[in-house]
Symmetry: C2
Subunit: 361 residues, 2 copies
Amino acid sequence: MVRRAASENEGPRPTTIRDVAAHAGVSVATVSRILSGTYPGAPATRTRVLRAVRELDYVANANARGLAGASSRSVAIIVNSVVSPHYAHVAQGVQTQAAIEGKLCIVGTTGSDPERELATVQLMREEHAECVILVGNVVADQAYRDRMAEYARALALAGSQLVLCGRPPLGPDVPALVVEYDNTGGAYAITSHLLSAGHDRILFLGRRDNYTTPESRVAGYRKALADHHVEHDPGLEVEGSMERHEGYRMISERLAAGPPDFTAVFAGNDLIAAGARQALREHGLSIPDDISMVGFDDLPPAADIGLTTVHVPHEELGRTAVRMALQRGRDKSGTPERVMLGTHIVVRDSVRPVVRSGSRP
Amino acid sequence: MVRRAASENEGPRPTTIRDVAAHAGVSVATVSRILSGTYPGAPATRTRVLRAVRELDYVANANARGLAGASSRSVAIIVNSVVSPHYAHVAQGVQTQAAIEGKLCIVGTTGSDPERELATVQLMREEHAECVILVGNVVADQAYRDRMAEYARALALAGSQLVLCGRPPLGPDVPALVVEYDNTGGAYAITSHLLSAGHDRILFLGRRDNYTTPESRVAGYRKALADHHVEHDPGLEVEGSMERHEGYRMISERLAAGPPDFTAVFAGNDLIAAGARQALREHGLSIPDDISMVGFDDLPPAADIGLTTVHVPHEELGRTAVRMALQRGRDKSGTPERVMLGTHIVVRDSVRPVVRSGSRP
DNA sequence: AAGGGTGATGAAAACGTTTACAGCACCGTA
DNA sequence: TACGGTGCTGTAAACGTTTTCATCACCCTT
């Protein structure tokens, strides 16, 4: 808040809409109207204004614009971490769509810390973004649902729209949009792929109860077993989180306890697969000759190691989230509140048919 | 801009500082002062205000705050793409430091399109972030320098601070900060590592003139050769961009032309290394038994394929950029304008000493 | 030629903060 | 007891837009 006397020139200040108006010989209202595209305006005036804008290198002040009630020019996304490939791809999708719509993207990271998540949501509330996209796998208990419902209402009050991305819906009376992808279907399909190749001892890596994503994947795995009339051995479901070193640990511990009692591995995601693969190799087991393996996500490591996996439309998730939110901002009624995107298998080279010893005497 | 009659209640509206003031029985000025921490205030008042904030679930309006002249609460970063690991890690560093300082992070992506870069910078100018961090490798011509200088001045005028991250400085009179890392030093060190193992035919993959990053890496490579008195064969420098498929292409084309005339490969970055490795394998050459290989960046693919490489402090780049910019915002004079972070070799398992045929008759 | 409509423009009131300035009570000192 | 000082607090003026409402000029119809 620097006071400036007319005579005392303390350096240039940014150009305002008033400068543009003066330079073009019109009122600020006219400039505002022409720039926001609300109003065609007389061609002559229009030209003069645009020239003034160019000559003065004017850009609007987003704060003033937001304050005066115009719709915000930004969307927000909250993720655990930007370096994790899944989040990075979703963020990329959000970015892309935001750029197409001429909007900016605000990113917040939580490091899976609920405390920081709350703090970030508060910051987003301050910012009045058009929507806040919350992405990622979470604990699916009641406390979580309550917290999300609270976020949704607070954000709605601030003029934002909460979008849950890859999370389950909260309930009918919570003002939140949901974009999911088909975890269960993908897991079902790829488990069937293994079963068709004759594998009936499939080790599932990365079970984690109460976490929505691994839970859905396990569900697809079990359903496929059941539909193929293969007995379900709970001992084949190994608990662990969705990280590379966890995949390494799970296989190492298992093989330390004895020789493999499985012919195929279904890794909860590609990172786990990469870690598991390394552990298998260190035990002299190669993929796919000794053990078949599939993953989930179809992220960079998968192509590198020739992994058959389930493709998840990461970027499309982000883009859809933005599209839905903005469309809903325009037309409150006609837009769906929930969308589920499909997943599909990508076949590479990590699965071999089972050779049954003694089947050909 | 909805008009509200006192009687006609059209749904709740977000709490403002006025509501808080009324609820606590003080003036808005007092609330503002206490919340911004400018002023201690009387303990009793303080308590009352904070309670009112809690009870009404008040969060400040960032637009109003920004407009009224308070320093912005956000930093901005512009990258080519969020999914590219290098950018993702820098962005993560920016995120982390921003969160520590209680600030939000605005991210823009350009897809290496100068047009979009300009548009993004304009959006950032509108946003009045405290700093705008521009990261990435670029064409190092005069047009680029002019454009950057223009950005720097425009942003400075809008109250922002331009920070160039991993780019060379622009000149003394341009208001920009620079955070670099030692490309040449790292390339020198890892080339020396290969030379010490007896390799004197080292294929450099990913030369690209006028691009700052590969240029610096080639420079380190050449300097190491010279210092070790190894003749420099320009035919060993292969042109290509910094992508995985380019590494694949470069090796494939070379091997299609004849048997390898090199014993080691210095890939311009880890992605090139991954692609090159795949091409070598498809020609029946394995690493490190047949060919030694080193990379640059120390990003995820490197650990997976056991690649000896140069570690780049990606996250630290981002954090340093934010720290420098904010510090400079506080204390205009005392802070440096340019910082160079060190790089160092990470030895894994992709280099073997040369076995000279005939050296032991 | 008068009247009604239409389209472009301007004046001014918001939006929700921060902050300069002024006021006011209270305390310790002269 | 009067007086300057010291802390708190309130009043009100910015900040730069958008938007409502009013005005004005002009053209088409009758």
